[in-house]
Every structure is written in structure tokens, then in C-alpha cells.
């Protein structure tokens, strides 16, 4: 899927590798997890906790919690506040609310 956003050519930051549901993604250093996911071209919609409908980040500034993802095994992290790090394992939250993560 073509992503809704593209990097401007002037963006020359170095890339780093993260994994999204096990798939390798080249992110740019300094991007938040949510921005890297939106730029990846993968289907990164999570399922809503109540009815399981697809959602994507809405505010990108820590307010709406639509960007919740599992990062390195810890669930419900705000992807828009956390910068990518090399080797990071990101999982899209599918299914209704997952307890215990």
C-alpha cells in the first residue's frame, strides 16, 4: 500500500532497521515509532479495543492514544512519543484488548 505520507528529498537522515510484526522496516533516526509505521507502506492499522474496528494514529502528540502498539513485548505504548531504536520489535495490536501485556 502506498503510504499517505512521503519523506521530502531534503531529509537525509541515516536509516535504521526496526521490525514490524517480524518484517524488516527501514526507519529514519529521530522518527517516532508511529511516524515510522505510517511511512512504512505496511498495513499498520490496529484493532480498536471495544469493537475491533481498524484505527490509525490521530493526533501524533500524545493525546488520543490511537497509536498504541506493542514495543519489545510491552503492550499499549504510545508510538507517537517513542523514538525508533535499532532492532526494535514492534507489534501491531490486533484483536480486542489484550490483557497482561
Amino acid at each position: 500500500m502506498t503510504p499517505m505520507f512521503s519523506h521530502i528529498p531534503a531529509d537525509q537522515r541515516p536509516t535504521l532497521e526496526i521490525f514490524v510484526d517480524g518484517q524488516s522496516v527501514q526507519a529514519r533516526r529521530g522518527d517516532t515509532v508511529a511516524a515510522a509505521l505510517l511511512a512504512s507502506g505496511l498495513d499498520v492499522r490496529r484493532d480498536s479495543a471495544v469493537s475491533g474496528v481498524p484505527r490509525l494514529p490521530y493526533c501524533m502528540m500524545g493525546v488520543c492514544f490511537e497509536c498504541l502498539v506493542t514495543i519489545n513485548g510491552v503492550g499499549n505504548r504510545q508510538g507517537c512519543l517513542i523514538p525508533v531504536e535499532p532492532g526494535m520489535q514492534v507489534e501491531i495490536q490486533r484483536g480486542k484488548r489484550e490483557l497482561g501485556k
Binding site: T32, V53, M61, C64, C80
Partner: protein
């Protein structure tokens, strides 16, 4: 949380946007031990987001107003204030103890004075379909642009009103991004209503810059004026936006991205959770903390600065930050430079010019604030306008009762994105005012916290003895 140098400070500042940076720099430069805590990866808040890391190093792109942040940041760095990023403040109590977590562990820090500078958030924009993937706030797009150099590249609609609506469009276009149509929701006749207050605005630098920006955007993008209805459509993803204008014209556009914006409102969660009184601001249509002239709230020692104290923009935020810091220093009996407080107050008076005009011009229309029917109000718990109206009919009298009926405001965002809508919707349904209806009662932790972070709090021997047998 070994990053903290101490467990008590003269001043703790929450939020490293313009107000927080100015407050912390002023206090630390005057010799107060100062801790600045911020949730983001770097300083700048929203206006100066990505200031130290943005890939848009060509200065033309973000313009002088953005790069002005560097001078303020320089003062902060020189001041000796302790600055911690990716720190989440999840509680403040009336004795000015601050609960903060960072890197998976938590601490309680004692402050003598606190400046809350948690800024603004975008006003909820509850239209049919606004939870579809592909519908985002204009602020979200601006964040992506500033911190990641990402611009819309697929068919895009921007809808709403206000200074940021035009500013964002200008920035996206200048960087080669794509905008197919702009839906201007400013109600008909509002410019005429605002004009009597225009004098103050004409004397600000924003006036000329604003005109230039408007002309630039208008020459490049199709603009539909006086839009009165907007709907987002799609199956599991946005594929089409439809609209209607005051003149009864309908339109539609196939699109992947819809960016919404109808102004910003104070982000009040933290200040309210401490117990600071807030009043309904009839002009800005939002809650606003009750403050004295130096920004002290009804909780002694707790100051609020920046857009969290009422929307004013970056100049007002800087001034309010300095006023609060100097007032706090004076109240602590520190020998602050005598001129500090009066200079900061004068700066604030000047920065406030022109605001009334913008508030009147960009007052959002009722149908975009108070939704109907199937439109979702609470995104987290997926509660619709008609559910709330039914709950009101069977007796829900305010937002706190409504929680028991429908769980509104009890999801992860803790009411941030539905609170204003719920208050206004209930006020309208019950034929009363937002003051009468009130707001959610907020309690710590104001941000979700892992149990392991709480468990990690250093324990007093007495506390351990009380529960371990």
C-alpha cells in the same frame, strides 16, 4: 530513575514547550534548583517540535518563528536547569509532590513551587467517520512534517479553520506535499463580527504574515468556503470526503487523508487532577484554569503557564512562563532581579494584543462541536452522540454520571478527546450551560502507568512494614 540529581527542587516545570523552557530558564538562571520534565524525545513542545533534530535544516522551510526557538533553548541550556525528556508526569498532589516515570521506573519528587506548562491540544472535531484510518488532526500532520520531514503524498483534504489551518497548508505546499482541496468551515458573517476587534491584531507582526500566507495558499489550492457539513467515508479506511456549504452546494473528493483542525484548547488534565479550579471560557469555548495575574492557580504554589492557561500562542506562552517563574521566585523569598517580574508582565501585556480578534474570527461552529446521531463522541469506548442523549433522557446529569452509564472518558485517553464534546452536548441536551454541567473528575495517574513502574517507587521502611507481615 537514577537520572534525577535530587529528590527535591525549588521549582519543577512540566512541559518543555515555549512556556516551560522560558520558566525553567528564568528560574535556574536566578539560582533556583530547577527540574524540567518533558514527555517528548526533545525540547520544543508543539510549536518548536523537533527543534534539535528536524531534518528540515533549510531554514526557509520552517521559517524564522520556528528557529527563534533556538535562542530560548540556548538560555535554558546556559541556565543550569536539569532537563529530562521522555519523562511522564502521572501525578501531582496539592502538597506539590510530583510523580514521574522515566525509562520504566518511577520516583516522587518534592517541589517548593510547580509550573505546569502542558500546552494545548487540538479541539475535538467529531464528524461522521472521524475515527476512520486516514483521518488525522492538522497538528498531527504538522508534527510529522517538523520532526520527520513527512508530507502528504496521496489525495488529501484539509478541513476546518484557524491560523494553524492556513499555516499547515502553506508549509505542506512549500515542501512539495499534496493538498487537493481545503474546506473552510469559518461561518458566514464571522469576519464582520470580528472586525471591531481587529485593531489590536493589525498592530501585530502576525497580521502581515497571515495575509501573505493566505494569498500563497489561495493561489495554489482549491478552497471551498462556508462549509457546514463534512463526512468521512470508507470501509476500514478513508476513501472519500463529502461536504455541504451554507449555500446548499454539495461536493465530494476521493481521498486517502483528511486533516481536521478547528483551533486548539488548553490541555487541562494534569492541572485539573491536582484540584486547580477551572472556569468555562465563553469566548474560547473551553475550560480555562482560574489564575491570579501571575499565573498561580487555586492550588497554592501551583502555577500554570503557556497555552494550558488559555490559548495565546507562542509569544504569550514565553511571557507567561517568565511571569510565573519570577512570581514563584519572589514567593520563595529568593532575591530575583527586581526588574524580572515587571519586565515579564510588560512582555505579557504586549503579547496578548490581537487575540480577541482571532478568537472571534475563528470561533468554531456549533455543528462541528456538538455532533448528532451516530457520530462517535468518545473514540476510546466508541460511544455515539445518540447514546449520550439517551443516557441524558434516563437521568445522567453530568459527565461523571455518564461514565457509569456509558464508560465515556474511561478509556486510555482519559477523556482528553471527548471531554469538551460531552460537556457541550450534555449542556445543550439539558438546556443548561457548560459550567452547570461541569467536566470529568480527573484523578492520578493522569497517564497510564505500568504496575511495575509503581512497584518500583522507593519504599519507606514504615510503608513496607504496614503491608508485609
Amino acid at each position: 530513575m537514577s537520572v534525577l540529581h535530587s529528590d527535591s527542587y525549588d521549582l519543577v516545570v512540566v512541559g518543555a514547550g515555549p512556556a516551560g523552557i522560558a520558566a525553567a530558564a528564568a528560574a535556574a538562571a536566578a539560582g533556583a534548583s530547577t527540574l524540567l520534565l518533558d514527555e517528548n524525545a526533545g525540547p520544543g513542545g508543539q510549536v518548536w517540535r523537533g527543534l534539535t533534530t528536524t531534518p528540515l535544516t533549510n531554514r526557509e522551510m520552517l521559517g524564522k518563528d520556528y528557529w527563534d526557538g533556538e535562542a530560548e533553548l540556548g538560555k535554558l541550556r546556559a541556565s543550569g536547569a536539569e532537563v529530562i525528556h521522555r519523562a511522564t508526569v502521572w501525578s501531582i498532589d496539592p502538597s506539590l509532590q510530583v510523580g514521574v516515570s522515566h525509562g520504566g521506573s518511577s520516583r516522587i519528587v518534592q517541589a517548593r513551587k510547580i509550573v505546569v506548562a502542558t500546552g494545548a491540544m487540538e479541539r475535538p472535531f467529531p464528524i461522521p467517520g472521524w475515527t476512520l484510518p486516514g483521518v488525522m488532526t492538522a497538528g498531527a500532520a504538522q508534527t510529522m512534517l517538523k520532526s520527520s520531514g513527512l508530507v502528504p503524498s496521496e489525495p488529501t483534504v484539509i478541513a476546518g479553520q484557524g491560523p494553524l489551518f492556513w499555516l499547515l497548508a502553506g508549509q505542506i505546499l512549500r515542501m512539495g506535499g499534496r493538498i487537493d482541496v481545503m474546506l473552510d468551515t469559518t461561518p458566514k458573517g464571522q469576519l464582520a463580527a470580528a472586525l471591531p476587534k481587529a485593531f489590536g491584531f493589525l498592530t501585530t507582526p502576525y497580521f502581515r504574515k497571515g495575509l501573505k500566507m493566505l494569498a500563497e495558499v489561495r493561489s495554489k489550492v482549491r478552497i471551498v468556503k462556508h462549509v457546514t457539513r463534512i463526512e468521512a467515508h470508507g470501509e476500514g479506511q478513508l476513501d472519500r470526503v463529502t461536504w455541504e456549504t451554507a449555500g446548499g452546494k454539495r461536493g465530494e473528493m476521493a481521498s486517502r487523508l483528511l486533516l481536521l483542525h478547528q483551533g486548539v484548547v488548553p490541555n487541562v488534565n494534569l492541572a485539573m487532577s491536582v484540584g486547580a479550579a477551572h472556569d468555562w471560557d465563553k469566548q474560547q469555548l473551553c475550560w480555562r484554569p482560574r489564575l491570579d495575574e501571575d499565573g498561580q492557580s487555586t492550588v497554592p504554589g501551583l502555577y500554570i503557564a503557556g497555552d494550558g492557561a488559555g490559548i495565546g500562542g507562542v509569544g504569550v506562552a514565553l511571557a507567561r512562563g517568565r511571569v510565573a517563574a519570577h512570581a514563584a521566585l519572589t514567593a520563595m523569598g529568593r532575591k530575583a532581579p527586581a526588574s524580572g517580574l515587571s519586565a515579564a508582565r510588560a512582555e505579557l501585556a504586549k503579547a496578548n494584543r490581537g487575540r480577541e480578534f482571532l478568537d472571534l474570527l475563528y470561533k468554531p461552529a456549533e455543528q462541528f462541536r456538538i455532533p448528532e446521531g451516530d457520530t462517535i463522541v468518545c473514540r476510546c469506548e466508541e460511544v455515539r452522540a445518540r447514546d449520550i442523549l439517551s443516557a441524558v433522557e434516563i437521568g445522567a446529569s453530568g459527565p461523571n454520571q455518564l461514565k457509569a452509564y456509558l464508560r465515556t472518558g474511561m478509556g486510555p485517553c482519559q477523556g482528553r478527546l471527548c471531554g469538551l464534546t460531552v460537556t457541550e452536548l450534555m449542556a445543550k441536551a439539558r438546556g443548561t450551560t457548560p459550567e452547570q454541567i461541569g467536566y470529568y473528575r480527573l484523578r492520578a495517574p493522569v497517564k497510564p502507568l505500568m504496575l511495575s513502574e509503581l512497584a518500583d517507587l522507593p519504599q519507606e521502611p514504615a510503608a513496607v512494614k504496614a503491608v508485609v507481615r
